[in-house]
């Protein structure tokens, strides 16, 4: 049986579709503009708008970006930080979530309160910074990896997951008669691959896209992640050293820095944009499990 709609309702449904289409356009057009502009000669773009003549196209921006040391170093630093952060986050959250899901853990509620309080109250920027400094973590990758590794939501997510499969776990444990360590490494870890994947994905993307911790904890440009390199190009209008020759005239400088902006946006967002459609359902899963509590 299908819902019967009045003519007015059918009109509403058509409008609904149109507005959603408009929403999609509002999302797509800015990206499309950036991508198209990244292949265009900026003087042509500025004076005549988009041109479809191959003579007005240029790959110069990409050449500058891909040949730039700071950019490449930033890219590999980001891969390192995001991977390290994901590994630590997943390990800590899976272990804690598994323990918190067990009824035999005395003080469960108390621990949960301890974790949840941190969601709503914290010491603030300065005391945290002073602590990281005192621990001698400044100017090390650990400053980006360790302090943020525990996240209450991740623990709740993992706990919810383990509660869902606790029956299977108990059965497996009974049959085996194996030690707790064996059960954890041989049964729990393999079973929790889906939730580990979701947590890792979130941690990786979060770290990849953030710049604040890197900005306050790192001074050494050799340690800068991609986002900080991007910041100097996009926000501070300073193309990284070596991208633009010193002797070039002002107009040429401005032209090049415009091109570099477009191409650096495309290059830095490319990994996520390419990966995203494949991982979308895992991201959604993360939101869902978390919201069910």
């Amino acid at each position: 049986m299908v819902v019967k709609n009045s003519p007015f309702d059918r009109l509403l449904l058509i409008l609904n579709g149109l507005f959603l289409g408009l929403g999609v356009l509002i999302v797509v057009i800015p990206f499309g503009y950036i991508i198209a502009a990244s292949f265009m000669d900026p003087t042509v773009l500025l004076n005549r708008g988009f041109s479809f003549q191959p003579a007005d196209w240029s790959l110069e921006g990409y050449r500058k970006i891909l040949g730039n040391e700071a950019m490449i170093r930033g890219f590999f630093n980001s891969v390192l930080y995001a991977t390290g952060f994901a590994v630590v986050t997943v390990l800590v959250s899976i272990c804690a979530g598994y323990a918190m899901a067990e009824d035999s853990l005395v003080g469960r509620k108390w621990f949960m309160t301890l974790f949840v309080i941190t969601l709503f109250f914290g010491g603030g920027l300065i005391p945290t910074y002073l602590l990281v400094r005192q621990l001698d973590l400044l100017n090390t990758p650990w400053a980006l990896i360790i302090p943020g590794a525990v996240n209450v939501w991740n623990i709740i997510l993992a706990r919810t997951f383990f509660k869902g499969i606790s029956k299977e776990l108990k059965e497996a444990a009974n049959v085996d008669g194996a030690s707790e360590w064996t059960i954890f490494t041989r049964i729990v870890i393999p079973l929790s691959k889906p939730i580990m994947f979701v947590l890792a994905l979130y941690a990786f993307v979060g770290q990849w896209n953030s710049y604040f911790d890197a900005m306050i904890y790192l001074d050494d440009p050799n340690l800068f992640p991609l986002q900080l390199v991007l910041r100097s190009i996009l926000i501070q209008n300073q193309a990284a050293p070596g991208m633009i020759g010193d002797q070039q005239a002002m107009a040429e400088l401005k032209r090049l820095s415009e091109m570099i902006k477009y191409s650096s946006i495309v290059i830095s967002s490319l990994p996520l944009i390419v990966m995203y459609p494949f991982f979308q359902k895992y991201f959604e899963k993360g939101v869902m499990v978390g919201s069910l509590k």
Binding site: V27, I34, L105, L131, Y211
Partner: protein, 323 residues
Amino acid sequence: MESSAKSGRPGAHPVHTEKQSVSRTRWEHIRKNSFLYILLAPALFLTLLFKYVPMYGAVIAFKDFSPIRGIMHSDWVGLKHFEKFLTSPNFEVIFMNTLKLSAFGLICGFPIPILLALMLNQVRRKGIKKNIQLFLYAPNFVSVIVIAGMLFIFLSPTGPINQIVSWISSQPLMFMTDPEYFRWVYILSDIWATAGWASIIYVAALANVDPELHNAASLDGASLLRRIWHIDLPTIKPIMAIVFILAAGGIMSIGFEKAYLLQTSMNLPASEIIATYVYKIGLQSGDYAYSAAVGLFNSLINVILLLGVNFIVKKLNDNEGLY
């Protein structure tokens, strides 16, 4: 004697045998499950170290911090830093900027994901719906630096938006330098980036609505809008309440990252918020104690707001709040 040592209370009087045996069984229970505690230990340790130690470190806000003597040995000054902040000419501007930016952001941003979810829910063909979602969710995964960079490109005096503006006006609009536009730029770009993603939990809840309800209602002659009003909206009401409490409770903790990027020396009268102020006076100028006091003041307001909003929502929402 040995058992009392195990119970963790070596000085306990042997008279309290009952209490002692309770604590002993508990201790043995814990020992039997020690594996679980070992698993919990890293998370617990990191939380205590990086979340609770800084809370203790926040006493710096009540002290005259001397780097040589350290936090613990610096002199107490009571509420001096708080008074300094509350009486400074900056206070009102910064406080109101913070409040306005996030309150307007909440008012404009809260209904959009709900509207999107209700609209998506009316798309009958699964494949089309999935594709629309794919696009609407995507901006959530773009970094804040890239979003800010795109805003600077699009809204520059010679950028594409101002080329459209030039059709009707001879003057370009100075989006990034005129304080008047700052809030709009911030809030609208925020909605652009997050509204799609924020609609997920509503979409999921709506997917669980029994289609029979809609069929029955339409047989009774209920129009589309009435069905949405009486079936769909009540379904997502509890989620709306939770999302609203969390958002309203965080109203004063509006993020540093984007506001700082969108700041230009010209738009500061509107764009300086508590978070950016704390960063500047603390980490850029090195006035740790004063900066920590401002941060702590902000945290306290947050907690009060959260409790207050939870109380109000509970009253309005049949005693269903966050806690």
